[in-house]
C-alpha cells in the first residue's frame, strides 16, 4: 500500500495475523480501539480517514498520510501553483509570458481575514493565469502555471 507523506511517497505492506498487524518491531492491534506495541510497551493510537487522507495520532505526533490509489501516476504536480485555502484573489502581480525568479510574488489573496502572497516556486515563465483580481477561489484551485525555462 502506498502513501504520500511530507517526506515523499512510501510503500508499506504489513503482515496481518487476525487483528494484529506487524511491521518490523511494531505490532498494531485493531480491535474496538487501536493499540500499538513497540518493544513490548503498548500505546493507544488514534486514526481517522477524511477523504483520501488517513490522519494518525501516535505518541504525540500527528501525521497526514494520503492514500495513493493503485495505478495512480507517480508524478507529483509540478509547475502548478494552487490556492493554499479558499479565499479571494486581491491582486495579480504578473502577466502571462513574464519571466519570474523563485520567490517572486505572483498573486495576493485574502483568506481568514489575512493577506497571503503566492510566490514562484522556481525560476520560469508564467504560462497561464487562471484567476483575476476579485475572483473567489477554492482550496487547491490552480491559480497559475509556471513552465520551466
Amino acid at each position: 500500500m502506498e502513501f504520500k507523506t511530507t517526506f515523499g511517497r512510501v510503500e508499506i505492506n504489513p503482515l496481518k495475523d487476525g487483528n494484529m498487524f506487524h511491521h518490523e518491531n511494531l505490532i498494531l492491534d485493531i480491535g474496538q480501539e487501536l493499540w500499538l506495541t513497540i518493544d513490548s510497551r503498548r500505546f493507544k493510537v488514534h486514526a481517522t480517514k477524511v477523504g483520501d487522507d488517513w490522519w494518525v495520532h501516535v505518541l504525540g505526533h500527528t501525521l497526514r498520510l494520503e492514500l495513493v490509489e493503485p495505478g495512480a501516476s507517480g508524478m507529483d504536480d509540478e509547475g502548478e501553483l494552487t490556492a493554499p485555502m479558499p479565499g479571494k484573489i486581491l491582486e495579480v502581480l504578473v502577466e502571462e509570458g513574464q519571466r519570474v525568479s523563485s520567490g517572486d510574488p505572483l498573486m495576493i489573496m485574502e483568506a481568514m481575514k489575512m493577506e497571503h502572497r503566492i510566490v514562484a516556486s522556481h525560476n520560469g515563465i508564467v504560462d497561464k493565469i487562471h484567476y483575476s483580481a476579485g475572483e473567489q477561489v477554492n482550496q487547491g484551485a490552480e491559480l497559475l502555471s509556471l513552465s520551466d525555462e
Binding site: M1, F3, T5, T6, F7, V10, I12, N13, P14, K16, F21, H23, E24, L26, L28, I30, Q32, L34, L36, I38, V45, H46, A47, T48, K49, V50, W54, W55, V56, H57, V58, L59, G60, H61, T62, L63, R64, L65, L67, P84, M85, P86, G87, L90, P105, I108, E110, A111, M112, K113, M114, E115, H116, Q139
Partner: protein, 496 residues
C-alpha cells in the same frame, strides 16, 4: 442591574461570556450568522437569534441589525467580546443611544485609545513613554517619505487596528512599497480605515501587557502583567503570567503607568495596556486594548479574579468585587491554531474529525469548537486556548507539555506539535522569550522533528486501518453486549 445581555460575538469568547452570564444569573442572547447555526456558543445561550445576510459585514459587523435584535428580545445590554465591533466607538454610541448598557469603556475612551496616533499623543501627554516613530496623516507617499527617518527595520501598523491585521515588519527599503500597500489594504478591509503609522521595530524586546480594571466608583486597579512575547506573524501564540522579566518594582511601575493610562481617558471596565520592554528594562507604551483580551485567562488563573464577571458588575454600576492584588503561582496559555507551522504558519481548513482535549488538574480549555465541527476560511483560525496553572513556572511548563501530549486533533492541520516543541525549548524553559524568538530559533521555518519510528508507526496504522476497511466501515460496535449506540452519539457530542 443587568438582566439580559446580547453577546455580539461568536466562537470561544462568546462561550466564555455566555457562561459568565449563566453563572451570574443573567440571561444571554446569542446572535449567529447562518454558517454558525450549530456552533457551540448558540447552545450555551438562553436565546439564539440568526443574523440575516452573508459575510462579516452583513452579520457580525452589522450594527443596526444587532441592536434591533437586542431591542426585540428584551436585552438591556450588549457585550462585544473582542475583535468585531468591540473597539468601534460608533457602535458603543449606537448601543447607548438605543437605551442599552454598553459593557465596555465609553466611546470617548475607545476613540482616544483605538486611534493609535491619538493614543500615542495622549500617553506622551500623561508622561508614559512611547516607542520612537512617526504618525502618518497622509497616505502611501508620506509613508515612503518618513520611513528612512525612522530607520529599518521598521513596523507598519494600522492606526485603527489590532490583532496583527494591517501590521507589517519591513526589514529593507526594497519591500517598503509592497508592504505598505498590503498593510493599508488589510487595514481597510479589517477596520474600514487604511491609515498606517511607522514605528521603530525594537528587536529583542518583550511584549508585556498590564490588565487593568476600573469601576464607576472611582477605583482603578491593575491585575499584574502578562508576557506575550512569543508571536508569529505578529499574533501571539504563547502567553504567561507573571513575567520573569519583571521584579516587584518594575511590576509596580508598569502597573502604575497602566492605571495612569486608564485614568487619562476616564476608563471604565476591563482593559489592557501593552508595553514593549527592552532588554535593559525600559518600557514603552504600545497601545491600549479597550476590551477583554484573548489571553485574559492567564491573569484570571494567577489572580483569582473572574474578569468577565467583573465586567458585568462594572457595567451594572456595581463596585468591583475583587480585593487586593494577590498573585499566586504561574499560568501559561497557548493558542491552538488551524495553521501549518511548517508552511510559514499559513492558516488551514479542514474538519475536526477527532478533537480530544486534555483533562486533569490545573488545565483549562477555552474553545468554541468540538469534534465534528468544520474549520472554514470564514473566520479566524484560532481553534482553542489551552491554559494551565501550577505553583511555579517550571511546573506550569511541565503541565502544559503533559496537556499538549494528551491533546488529539485529526482532520485539520494545527500548530499542536509546534506548541509542544516550543514548551520544551531551552529558551522557553529559561524564559528567554522575545518578540522575535520564533524567527531567531527557526530562521528557516519550523519543521516537525519526527523520529523515523513515528513515521513507520503512522504508515503501519494507516495501512492496517485501510486494509481492514476501517475507512469505509459503517459502524463500530461500542458496547460489549452487541447493542450499538445510535449514531446520535456521534452527532450529539460536544467538547466545549
Amino acid at each position: 442591574m443587568i438582566k439580559r445581555v446580547l453577546v455580539a460575538n461568536r466562537g470561544e469568547i462568546a462561550c466564555r461570556i455566555l457562561r459568565a452570564c449563566r453563572e451570574a444569573g443573567i440571561e444571554g442572547v446569542a446572535v449567529f450568522a447562518g454558517n454558525d447555526s450549530t456552533s457551540l456558543f448558540t447552545e450555551l445561550a438562553d436565546i439564539s437569534i440568526e443574523l440575516k445576510g452573508e459575510g462579516l459585514t452583513e452579520t457580525y459587523l452589522n450594527q443596526e441589525q444587532i441592536i434591533t435584535i437586542a431591542l426585540e428580545n428584551g436585552c438591556d445590554s450588549v457585550h462585544p467580546g473582542f475583535g468585531f465591533l468591540s473597539e468601534r466607538a460608533d457602535f458603543a454610541n449606537a448601543v447607548i443611544a438605543a437605551g442599552l448598557i454598553w459593557i465596555g469603556p465609553s466611546a470617548e475612551a475607545i476613540t482616544n485609545m483605538g486611534d493609535k496616533m491619538t493614543a500615542r499623543m495622549t500617553m506622551k501627554a500623561a508622561g508614559v513613554p512611547v516607542i520612537p516613530g512617526v504618525e502618518v496623516k497622509g497616505g502611501l507617499a508620506e509613508i515612503l517619505e518618513v520611513a528612512p527617518s525612522v530607520g529599518f527595520p521598521l513596523l507598519l501598523k494600522a492606526t485603527a487596528g489590532g490583532g496583527g491585521k494591517g501590521m507589517r515588519a519591513v526589514h529593507s527599503p526594497d519591500n517598503l512599497e509592497i508592504e505598505a500597500k498590503a498593510a493599508m489594504r488589510e487595514a481597510l478591509n479589517a477596520f474600514g480605515d487604511d491609515r498606517v503609522y511607522v514605528e521603530r521595530l525594537l528587536t529583542g524586546s518583550r511584549h508585556i501587557e498590564i490588565q487593568v480594571l476600573a469601576d464607576s466608583h472611582g477605583r482603578t486597579i491593575h491585575l499584574g502583567e502578562r508576557e506575550c512575547s512569543v508571536q508569529r506573524r505578529h499574533q501571539k501564540v504563547f502567553e504567561e503570567s507573571p513575567s520573569i522579566a519583571l521584579d516587584a518594582q518594575l511590576r509596580e511601575e508598569m502597573g502604575e503607568a497602566a492605571c495612569e493610562a486608564a485614568r487619562a481617558v476616564d476608563y471604565e471596565g476591563a482593559g489592557t495596556v501593552e508595553f514593549l520592554v527592552t532588554p535593559k528594562g525600559e518600557f514603552f507604551f504600545l497601545e491600549m486594548n479597550t476590551r477583554i483580551q484573548v489571553e485574559h485567562p492567564v491573569t484570571e488563573m494567577v489572580t483569582g479574579v473572574d474578569i468577565v464577571r467583573e465586567q458585568l458588575r462594572i457595567a451594572a454600576g456595581e463596585p468591583m468585587s475583587c480585593g487586593e492584588l494577590q498573585i499566586r503561582g504561574h499560568a501559561i496559555e497557548v493558542r491552538l491554531y488551524a495553521e501549518d507551522p511548517a508552511n510559514n504558519f499559513l492558516p488551514c481548513i479542514g474538519e475536526l474529525a477527532v478533537f480530544i482535549p486534555p483533562e486533569g488538574p490545573g488545565v483549562r480549555l477555552d474553545t468554541g469548537v468540538r469534534q465534528g465541527d468544520s474549520v472554514t476560511p470564514d473566520y479566524d483560525p484560532m481553534l482553542a486556548k489551552l491554559i494551565v496553572w501550577a505553583p511555579s513556572r517550571a511546573e506550569a511548563l511541565q503541565r502544559m507539555s503533559r496537556a499538549l501530549d494528551e491533546f488529539i486533533v485529526l482532520g485539520c492541520t494545527t500548530n499542536l506539535r509546534f506548541l509542544r516543541e516550543l514548551c520544551g525549548h531551552p529558551d522557553v524553559v529559561d524564559g528567554w522569550t522575545t518578540t522575535d524568538m520564533i524567527e531567531r530559533l527557526w530562521p528557516d521555518g519550523w519543521t516537525p522533528d519526527m523520529p523515523s519510528i513515528i513515521l513507520d508507526a503512522g504508515l503501519l496504522i494507516a495501512s492496517a486501518c485501510e486494509s481492514s476497511g476501517m475507512g469505509r466501515q459503517k459502524r463500530v460496535n461500542l458496547s460489549t453486549t452487541g447493542e450499538s449506540p445510535s449514531p446520535f452519539n456521534t452527532i450529539s457530542r460536544r467538547f466545549p
